[in-house]
């Protein structure tokens, strides 16, 4: 005899179990890294340069390098991504060219990050002769996060109700005035959220900066955008695999700083979204 109530319970059990399994790895990663990394965190670790072949001292240059790279990436990616998103959501008509553009964006998002690294090496480092530099690394990271920014900005723009545009146009506003005064202000929270998620992604990636900017060991701060820089993810890779006898707590401490940076950015994105949802009433 089939018992619908029992099959229902079984289904519920497995669905719930699968959902629970998502939480476990996240929780474990965070717990392990905090547990092993927290003892390393102190003022010196955050503000000093690496010493004794990166086996002691701090990770300050890597923190600064990552901040530079993230800032650089956003300076390139946000304007281009936002303008492209405005074109795609407000101006483009449904034709072959625009379908091709949209397809390209989806594919750009799917390209493995190491391929971006090689691309950056070929184009920015070698062809444009920027050398391994903050400029080359920022541009490479910028291209990598473009699809995130375009997609989230487009969604944000498209979620602004059509009726707002209609009213604005019916009051004699031009299309650009409508975008500028009505559409953009209402889309900003969504655009910001996407941007910050892109930042988090840029901060955490190793492969794109591997050939384009990252310095193995550089006990000073970069002086210009044409300098190499240390960066947290690459530094973590180096002290984990390339340098023998690094104290475990320094490795986990570095991971903790990187994780905190990325989680903090995501947290900001979540708060912006939450505040916006509470305010929005249409």
């Amino acid at each position: 005899m089939r018992n619908p109530h029992r099959t229902q319970n079984i289904a519920f059990f497995f669905l719930f179990l699968a959902t629970l399994l998502i939480v476990v790895p996240v929780g474990m990663i965070v717990v392990i890294i905090i547990q092993k990394g927290l003892p390393a965190i102190n003022w010196q670790f955050l503000t000093d340069i690496p010493r004794q072949g990166m086996r002691a001292g701090g990770i300050f240059p890597a923190i600064v390098g990552t901040l530079y790279l993230v800032t650089g990436a956003i300076v390139f990616a946000l304007p281009i991504g936002l303008l492209a998103a405005i074109y795609l959501s407000e101006y483009s008509k449904d034709n072959i060219l625009n379908r091709l553009i949209k397809l390209a964006i989806v594919n750009l998002a799917g390209v493995p990050s190491v391929v971006y690294g090689l691309f950056g090496l070929a184009l920015f480092v070698i062809f444009f002769k920027f050398g391994a530099s903050i400029l080359a690394g920022s541009l490479t990271l910028g291209i990598m996060i473009l699809p995130i920014i375009i997609t989230s900005s487009r969604e944000a723009l498209e979620s602004v109700p059509q009726s707002f545009r209609e009213v604005s146009l019916s009051l004699g506003a031009s299309k650009w005035q409508t975008i500028r005064h009505i559409v953009l202000p209402n889309a900003i929270p969504g655009i910001l959220t996407g941007t910050i998620l892109g930042l988090g992604r840029a901060a955490g990636e190793t492969a794109p900066i591997l050939f384009t900017v990252a310095a193995f060991y550089l006990p000073q701060l970069p002086k210009s955008v044409f300098d190499q820089a240390m960066a947290l993810p690459y530094h973590l890779y180096v002290i984990s695999t390339q340098v023998p006898n690094v104290d475990e707590k320094i490795r986990y401490g570095t991971a903790l700083v990187l994780l905190t940076l990325v989680l903090f950015m995501n947290l900001v994105a979540i708060i912006i979204r939450y505040k916006f949802r509470k305010k929005k009433k249409w």
Partner: protein, 251 residues
Amino acid sequence: MAKIKTDKLNLWYGPFHALKDVDSSFGANRITAIIGPSGCGKSTLLRVFNRMNDLIEGVRTAGKVLVDGEDIFGPGADLVKLRKKVGMVFQRPNPFPLSVYENIVFGERIHADSIKRDTLDEIVERSLKSVLLWDELKDRLNEPALRLTLEQKQRLCIARLIAVKPEVLLMDEPCSTLDPQATARIEELMRELKNNYTIIIVTHNMQQAARVSDDTGFMLLGELIEFGRTEDIFTAPKDRRTEDYITGRYG
């Protein structure tokens, strides 16, 4: 004298023939109602007058539409000027998610060369007074407009439109989301506004058309079947189809 005239106006949405040879004439400082069953093209006709149909892809128009004697589809037609002159009130009250004040001054911010605070204040007061909202809202100008009641929102939308100093008000079922009391008050407002504006209202509510309008046009399947003084249309329709619709045989 006719404020708006159409001459052999035809409109297609892609292959769909939505308006067929519409000849009409809308008098200045009168309220003209356009009635007819859903899908008859009455909203489409309304949206021709401020060219809102331009926003839809695949729309084609043929024939002439004259506003103050000027062809709005002519080569020298200025879309911004047209839309300032011929404004629209939509079915759903749709204030921007801004304050009451900013909603009303939106048009001024868009159109004025320089923004003066005094001018803005003046516009807000004058516009709110003309829709009889000033006393209710004068202390709440900085509140979000989305917090108003539906009726207040619709009045605000009319005020926002009036602030642009239009000459024609197109109203697309402006009361369909309102309760009967609010509807009555908006109709009262329309009678008041008619002294200064030419009003064209689309409605599926025949009683509303009979109550509020001076002239009425009846549309069916894209054709303007009958057009005349409201009392004639409702008491002595010339066309059989108008009579059937008005007496409720279909709709």
